[in-house]
Each structure stands twice: as structure tokens, then as C-alpha cells.
């Protein structure tokens, strides 16, 4: 500090305090992480899930002489938290992202291709590999994956003498027949966010819709199907507000005879004894077709690190987490389908009531396989399409044309 004439000590003190205050507000640097600890960023904020994760991680880390530290934030904040960490160079050793978020992180060049840290790909299902890949390079490993199926109230269907519908026509008929009093025949999520988009995809894709060219028309019949269900009164008009949790609540309270939902609802469904339920495949436009549902789940990635040893440790932990037996145990724990082919086969045998999920995962598609980083914009455009069709603001064809405009061209 310069001392100018005419400045009294007191004013110097004032200035010193001011600068000190300012200095305290800035700076601050991350502590150097402990070399024997592997840090993980994930969305396991739920206590049970957090502890299950910790247990599996430690099972793998302890033999390697490593400790595990989980940082868990709500699922919709993982991406922004990871970005903040990246900007201060304090990203965790393992970053667990939702499959649909992977391309945007892979594109940054900040992730290590997974082959380089030693998790081989020969054992995993194709759909799970595409979930963890961007531009043909694997950046993430999925321990387990989920998809969507038709879950139905066995009692209501038996009373009506119905088998679970397998085609769209059957779905329309059964849903209409099962609609009585307070109970709608069919429930699904058409919310204007990721939930609704996820639930729309099995219909859109099975109809031949193309997320890269929304206005080609093949997806219009899927919009029509949803609209028919709502217009006929077989589904509530409120589906435009329901997320997948709401759909499950409707089903469990007996207000829906059938619903579209995923295996993550199984714990809730198993814990209640109000309704008897079973799982069936998702209905397809024409008999004999394979359904094309979306594949969902998280992928574990290894951010690039200046210290190759940290990356190697992360790779070792991932390798162990994805062994056949650990994947199987994890799949059992979270009701998702393991991605290791053998583990998936065993899982299917041991959980016959969830077998449709295991089969659906075989033909499931990754949301980002074709459009990569453009998925968030395209997903938004799709949600705009089904929302405007369901609320009567646009015809299916017009809605898809509008969606294509909104999604824009390849950038």
C-alpha cells in the first residue's frame, strides 16, 4: 500500500478493513483431495438409496484400499452442480449422469473415454452401450437400465374378462371398457417435462416417428392415440399435469385400471395391498410388431483428471461395480435390469413378474443416439406437440410441424 501525505492512520485503517473485507469475499480454493478417496457425484439423495450406493461402492473400494465419498444432489441439479465443479476444477472422480445428459458433457471433452480406464464393453447389452455413448465413443457405463411397460390392475381386468391389450386398437377398446365411475381405463404422464416426453416416446417410436425429423408424419398416429384416449374419456384430461409419480398414485388409489410406468415404481407397488398388479409389454400399433420404448437410467463417467492415478482408481471401482454379480445384486436392489448380458438373463429368471421390463430393454432405444446434444431441445419440442394436441390447440400433423420448427435444424 502506498502512503500518501495527508492521510491519517485512521483513514488507512478504514481502507485496510475495506480491502480485507473484499479479499475475504473472493478467492477460496478447493482442498487437495485425499489420494485414497474416490469421490462420486450422483443423485442418491434418498437415504435408502444413498446407503445402498455406499454399501456397493465400499464393497468394491475396500479391497482396493480406497474410501468412497458420495456427494448427492437432487437429480435435476446434478448437471448444473457438475458444471460448477468443473469450472473450479474440483469435479469428482466418478460423475453419475442421467443418460440423456451424457452427450452435453461428452461434447465438452471433459470426460475420459471409458475404454481408456478399463471397463470393457463386450459383456453389455447394445442398448446400454448406446445409452453411454456419444459420437460412437463410450464415455459412461450403465450399471442397470430401465424402460417403460404397461402395468395393469389384475382384478379389474379379470372382472371385465380382459387380457392386457397388445395393440393400440385393443388399448383403446380395453381402456374404454375399463372406464367406470371413478376409475379411468388408462393413465399416463403427458407433463410438459422429461416425464411426459419419456412416456410419449414408446408410442412415437413404435409408430415409426423420428426424433431427428419430427414432421415426417409417422409419429402423428401416436399423438392421435393419446388424444383418442383422452377424448373418449378413457384417460383423464389431467394427464397433461401428471408426472410419473402422479400416474402411479392414480393407479395405486384405484383410479386407473392400467398405466404406463417404469420399474422404479415397483417398491411402491409392492408395499401397498390396495391393488393387485402385473406388468405387460407396451401395446404396439399393429399386432406382431416389436415395441420401441426409450431406455433410461444413469451412466457413470470418469471426468478427466490431471492425476492419472485418480482416473485409474475410478476405473477400478467401476470395473468392480459392473461385475456380473454386483450388477445382478444392484439390479435386484433397485428393480432395474442389469446391463451385463448374463446378469440380465439371470435377473429375468429370478424376477418373472418383471420379465417384460427385461424384454423391453432388449429393443429399447436411447434418446440421444441419433440427435446427441440436441436432445433437450427436441424433447421440449415433443412435449409442446403432445401438450397442444391433448389440449385441442392443434391437430397431430400441425403440432409435429410446429415442433420441428421449434427444434430447428442441425446446428
Amino acid at each position: 500500500m502506498q502512503r500518501r501525505t495527508g492521510r491519517t492512520p485512521s483513514s488507512a485503517a478504514v481502507l485496510a478493513v475495506a480491502t480485507a473485507t473484499l479479499a475475504a469475499g473472493l478467492g477460496g480454493c478447493a482442498a487437495e483431495p485425499d489420494p485414497d478417496t474416490v469421490t462420486v457425484l450422483n443423485s442418491a439423495t434418498d437415504t435408502a438409496e444413498h446407503e445402498a450406493n455406499q454399501e456397493f461402492f465400499e464393497r468394491c473400494a475396500e479391497p482396493l484400499g480406497l474410501r468412497i465419498e458420495q456427494i448427492s444432489v437432487p437429480a435435476d441439479q446434478v448437471a448444473s452442480k457438475a458444471l460448477r465443479m468443473a469450472s473450479s476444477d474440483s469435479l469428482t472422480d466418478i460423475l453419475e449422469l442421467d443418460g440423456s445428459e451424457l452427450p452435453q458433457f461428452a461434447e465438452t471433452g471433459g470426460l475420459r473415454p471409458i475404454d481408456e480406464v478399463g471397463v470393457g464393453d463386450e459383456r453389455f447389452s447394445d442398448s446400454s452401450i448406446s445409452l453411454g455413448s456419444y459420437d460412437g465413443v463410450r464415455y459412461g457405463v450403465a450399471r442397470s437400465v430401465n424402460s417403460l411397460a404397461l402395468i395393469y390392475n389384475t382384478e379389474l381386468l379379470a372382472d371385465a374378462g380382459l387380457e392386457p391389450p397388445t395393440t393400440w386398437d385393443e388399448l383403446r377398446e380395453s381402456a374404454a371398457e375399463l372406464t367406470q365411475g371413478d376409475t379411468y381405463g388408462m393413465a399416463f404422464s403427458a407433463s410438459p417435462n422429461a416425464d411426459g416426453v419419456y412416456q410419449f416416446l414408446p408410442f412415437f417410436w413404435s409408430a415409426g416417428g423420428d426424433e431427428a425429423r419430427l414432421d415426417e408424419g409417422a409419429g402423428a398416429s401416436a399423438l392421435q392415440l393419446w388424444k383418442d384416449l383422452v377424448d373418449a374419456g378413457s384417460s383423464s384430461r389431467s394427464v397433461v399435469n401428471w408426472n410419473q409419480q402422479d400416474v402411479n398414485d392414480q393407479f395405486v388409489s384405484g383410479r386407473a385400471a392400467m398405466m404406463i410406468n417404469g420399474p422404479w415404481q415397483v417398491p411402491v407397488l409392492s408395499a401397498q395391498d390396495e391393488v393387485d398388479w402385473a406388468v405387460a409389454s407396451i401395446p404396439v400399433p399393429e399386432a406382431g410388431q416389436d415395441p420401441v420404448p426409450p431406455i433410461g437410467g444413469t451412466v457413470m463417467t470418469v471426468p478427466k483428471n490431471d492425476d492419472p492415478e485418480r482416473e485409474r482408481n475410478a476405473g477400478r471401482v467401476l470395473e468392480c461395480l459392473n461385475s456380473e454379480e454386483n450388477q445382478l445384486a444392484w439390479g435386484e436392489r433397485v428393480n432395474n435390469v442389469p446391463t451385463d448380458r448374463h446378469a440380465a438373463a439371470t435377473y429375468r429368471e429370478q424376477n418373472p413378474e418383471l420379465a417384460p421390463f427385461a424384454d423391453l430393454v432388449e429393443t429399447a432405444r436411447s434418446r440421444t443416439e441419433r440427435v446427441g446434444t440436441r436432445w433437450p431441445v427436441i424433447g421440449d419440442a415433443l412435449s409442446g406437440a403432445f401438450q397442444s394436441v391433448l389440449t385441442g390447440r392443434a391437430s397431430p400433423e400441425d403440432a409435429l410441424r410446429q415442433a420441428q420448427r421449434q427444434a430447428g435444424d442441425d446446428e
Binding site: 478504514v14 465438452t108 471433452g109 410438459p192 389431467s238 401438450q387 389440449t391 420448427r405
Partner: protein, 307 residues
Amino acid sequence: MSADTSQRARRGAGRRRLYQWLFVLPALLYLVAFFGYPLVRNVLMSFQEFTPTTYFTGESPFNGLENWRAVFDNPLLGDAFWQTILFTVGSLVGQFTIGLALAVFFSRRFHLSGVIRAVLLLPWLVPMVVSAVVWRRIMDEDHGVLNSFLELVGLSADGVPWLSSPSVALLSAILVNIWIGIPFNMVILYGGLQEIPKELYEAAALDGAGPWRTFRSVTLPMLRPVVTVVLVLGFMSTIKILDLILALTGGGPADSTQTLGTLTYQLSFMQLDFGQGAVVGNVLILISAVFALLYLRVNRSDVGRGR
């Protein structure tokens, strides 16, 4: 001699000015660090390609008006703008009118008035997201309490689609926000009413003014400064509405409840295009700035007019 004193005086004045600045300095530094810097950064960001890559590489190349063009080409922007204005004006009018009516009502002491006033504060105490989730249930088209009630009193036969119709959803969101905002308006205005000297009312009564005339000629003019504060604070919190809408409708159905706040959120945190998110943020700042200037002008004209 005279030159010497004037020099000393000048030096004294200089020193005094320095002290004055030193006293202002902490506040100035605080403003620059916590308001100036983010504002400038946000304006800059709207001219940059600011994506996840930026966080990893630290590079955010300037891309001219590309973000602005993309945002202004986005059909959602116009809708979001008008819906934000509608939402804000609707909420403020509703909150203020009901809040003022309740404040006037409670300014007369009566049995249990304190208890009821305390109960009316509840909406303010409940977290916004919790309120929204509860209202989602109340407004459910099939099983909501609201429609059951309307049916019971015979106002509506087959249920109002509060949250499932694009033509009603924005109104529903406004109604919920009014419910949330009433206590704040009521408390501040009630405090303002307590400040009005009783003599004025006595004088008005002697002059033979009726209740409405008293309200117009005594209560409202005396409340003016408080009214301005309530409306300004209300405007600032309402224009950037996000959490209520996200929890109540998620911006739907068919984007009928998208606001500039939800659009910023969508662009920045869902699509991770922070440059475009900053553009919408700047639009919000501009609207607020226009409003702030109006507010300052109104206030300045108040000063010295003996109002």
C-alpha cells in the same frame, strides 16, 4: 498569509471529501461486487456462446447477436412475455385489493380480530413449493376439493379444468399467487393504517364525510408511501416468478403458463444454453429497469409537493 490559509482550507476540504468517500466506499464495493458485476456478466454472457464446454475449458467465444436472434425467433418468447405481464398485473391487482380490504376491515378492533389476523398470515409462512403442490390437489379436475365444492353449490356441473386447460391454467396460477400474496399486502398496509392520525378521521367525520369519502380523501392519500412500497416489492417478486409455476403446472398445459422466469430456467438449466438464458434474463432486467425508472419519477414528483 491569505494564500496559506486558502491552501490549508483547500487541503481541509480535500481531506473531508476523502473521508466522505471512505464512508461510502464499503457500500459502493458491495454494490459493485454483488450487483454490478453479475449484471455486467449477464449482459456479456448474452453475447457469448456459453455452454457446458465453457465450464470445462473456460472458453466462451463471443457470437455477436446469435443468442438474441435465437431467443427472439423462439415462438415461446412472445407468449412468455405477455403471460408474465398478465400474471404480474393480475396478481398485484388481486393481492393489493384484497389485502387492502382486509387491512381496513381489521383496523377496527373486534372480538378475535387478532387471532383471525394471525391465521390469515399462514399462506405467507408456507413454503411456495408446498403451497403449489397442495393447490395442485385442490384444483384437480376430477377429484379436487375446489370442483367438488363448486358442484355442491351448483356453480359448475362437470368440473372446471383448472390446470388442464390452456385457457384457464394462467388464471389458476394467478389465483394461487394472489392467495400467497394477500398476507404480505395486508400486514404492510395494516401497519400503514395504524400510522394515520386519528384526528384526521375525527375531522373528516365533523366535515360530514361518509365512509367511502373518508377512505378516498383521508385513508388512501395518507397510505400512498406504503402503497408504493407494497406495489414495488410485489412487482419485483412477481415479475420473476418461477417456483410457483414450476410446481403448479411446469409451464403447461401447452406452454400457457410459461413466463420469462420459467423460460430462463428452461434455456439455462434444462437445455444448458446459458447464453440464451442470459438473453431472457436481460429482457427481465430491462422490464424491471423501466419500472424502476417510473417508480423513481413518481417518487420524485411526490417530494416537495407537500403531499
